[in-house]
Subunit: 399 residues, 2 copies
């Protein structure tokens, strides 16, 4: 894979946000990079892929679409499917687990699947020390952030070094493939144990007047990015548009970083990555992790070549995402007053907030690294939906 | 890349048509194959890619779409763009050539571009011994088959061993990438100097009632395949549906085979591959190539994972393709009377042929191997639009 070289970075304490880099070639073979581009050879990609867990949060996707997504994930990556699909009247999780199993048998590779609302999973997470994740029904809360957190906890149990996320509702296996290659390329280039790679899709095809229109901008991310950039600019005194991936559902990170991050619930998870990076490693508040402050936290942002081609989740979904994003920015102790009042103005103007009300707080979880992994490892097999497909998915019992 | 193993083949003389194989994994890493699947390691793919020329026939596509297609072609493949785009009022070829040049500079790779209607190209092809290609204006005829023939002639000048085709109107770079990997995988598996790989796309998204519908079947290929299968079945006495790629615009072949094939003009080029294989190597007519008859001509058919997502060219285009396909089958000396009368019945029923008329003949060109390549090599630089980008695209002067 060949990426445009990123020349500019914006610093925020130990956090180094790289300007958006475009993909030049999906496969750069043995080609060399130069001053304008970074070519990452296949062997280097493979070395990362062997350490990379790909988590697929899944909700009610068809077998056909899931099969396509699986086919796009490079063989050496380990697949973890976290499902929040309906189990009644049809047990869609069972169909999903069978799809994964059948694929893995054909492809000769391992995988892990689990259902987010499995009581056994809730018991395991509670036993491991994260009761915050459990709702009034005694189950792990619904929500994308929660699925991602479960995926990260499972990734930690595999003994691998990196975790990346790929949505299940993607109609283009080649795009999934590109995401994974971008993760490997970015993590290889990042050159820090605490790295994150976030994807900005090239375009999003939409049906408009009976034909396809390739939209360049997401309806939610434009707003999220603007306020995150504003947050940064209030400190530097210089306007910036460096953040282009505030809502990046597709992202990957080293587990060394992931274990230290706090994840937000629901759709706040993605923008909160930035907020938590600024809070923990921005140099504004005291960091609990001097080892990270002494290193650096590179955030690479990569614009993919493939269109992001998925089901339209509707306007409510977009509004919900946007509001949750702004809520987490608003409540961050690193957000200066000017940003906070701009958010209130925006939300009020949109009718998403009544006058003189305060944006609600989103749920923020403790870092996954705080879990007692030995307890999680012991309790997990009790979860009825937990499947380890093939051998060698989980590492030996953690110390 | 991992492909489903193909168990069944249909023989027609030396031609061995393999049953459709599906792609299981886009990247099988170092994974091994087994009885159910063929895993082709990256090194084996790379070895083919180094010998593979990818020809892009192009007509009036936007810069953005072309850039995407180029990004999907593996680095080690050599790009040849054959344009039939408008040159007035805007010189679209100039924009295309610049797009290729800019991409190649960023990616550090060579390419060749030429315009199909360049008088210098016509002169070179005529000098090299193919006056049939020239129309009344003294230029190479418009038409996809003609663009493919020019591409194959240029491929032969590069000294590489394989040529593959990728349409320029593809919105999914990941699909282009998959096509090229399938070519390399298929040519590696084919295990014969005279091999062809043809692609059947997974699905074709269409806008229907304001939303997307993933159609599994092409409007033209269903008919083309049915009549080609009928042609085969009339000899074997057994009905068959082995041919699934009669209209495969996306295909690759060894130049050892390509040099011996006759190509048809326009959209007849793709179905005529099968017809010419049956005529030359089917064992029904005498073959001019005993060396091929003593070997075998495997035709691999691969169903890709990515949807084939391109501009809708309209109903006329589809009808035209279908009619041209049936015309070449009808006029083939290997088509038995039952097939010929079925074609006439079908075309008459569709209103594409008046009662008691005969389907028109399509234009069939002599094999590219009959060209005097030394003359072509000498004359080509005279063509004003001929561009050799980077070093090492063309081989040394052919003997």
């Amino acid at each position: 894979m060949r990426l445009e070289h990123s020349y500019r970075t914006e610093r925020f304490g130990a956090v180094r946000i790289h300007e958006l880099q475009r993909v030049i070639e999906l496969d750069s073979g043995a080609g060399a990079g130069d001053s304008g581009s970074d070519a990452i050879p296949q062997d280097a990609l493979r070395a990362i892929e062997r350490e990379l867990v790909i988590v697929i949060p899944c909700m009610n996707e068809t077998r056909r679409v899931i099969e396509g997504v699986l086919s796009g994930i490079p063989h050496d990556c380990l697949i973890v499917l976290v499902s929040n699909s309906d189990r009644y009247p049809v047990d869609r999780y069972e169909i999903e687990a069978q799809t994964v199993e059948q694929f893995c048998r054909l492809a000769g590779r391992p995988a892990i699947t689990v259902h987010q609302r499995d009581p056994g999973l809730a018991a395991a997470m509670k036993a491991a020390g994260m009761p915050e994740l459990i709702d009034d029904d005694g189950l792990v809360r619904r929500g994308k952030g929660e699925a991602m957190l479960i995926g990260m906890a499972l990734a930690a149990l595999t003994g691998r070094r990196y975790v990346g996320y790929v949505d299940a509702d993607n109609y283009v296996p080649g795009a999934v493939h590109e995401y994974c290659k971008v993760y490997a390329a970015g993590l290889h280039l990042a050159d820090s144990p605490y790295a994150m790679v976030r994807i900005s899709w090239h375009s999003k095809p939409k049906v408009r007047d009976g034909r396809l229109f390739f939209s360049r901008r997401g309806r939610s991310s434009e707003i999220t990015n603007a306020f995150l950039n504003r947050l940064v600019a209030e400190y530097s005194g210089f306007g910036t548009d460096v953040i282009a991936t505030g809502n990046a559902g597709e992202h990957a990170l080293s587990l060394a970083l992931g274990m230290r991050l706090r994840l937000a619930g629901g759709f706040a998870v993605e923008p909160f990555h930035y907020v938590d990076l600024f809070e923990q490693f921005g140099g504004v508040l005291e960091s609990a992790h001097p080892e990270v402050m002494a290193s650096s936290v590179p955030v690479l942002q990569v614009e993919t070549r493939n269109p992001h081609f998925h089901e339209n989740k509707g306007e409510d979904h977009v509004r919900g995402m946007r509001t949750q994003a702004l809520n987490v920015v608003y409540h961050s102790p690193v957000a200066l007053p000017a940003v906070r009042s701009a958010i209130v103005d925006f939300l009020t103007g949109q009718g998403a907030l009544s006058a003189s009300a305060e944006p609600p707080r989103e749920r923020i979880y403790p870092p996954v690294g705080s879990l007692a992994f030995d307890l999680l490892f012991d309790a997990l097999p009790e979860a009825e939906t937990f499947r380890e497909i093939g051998a060698g998915a989980l590492a030996a019992r953690p110390a």
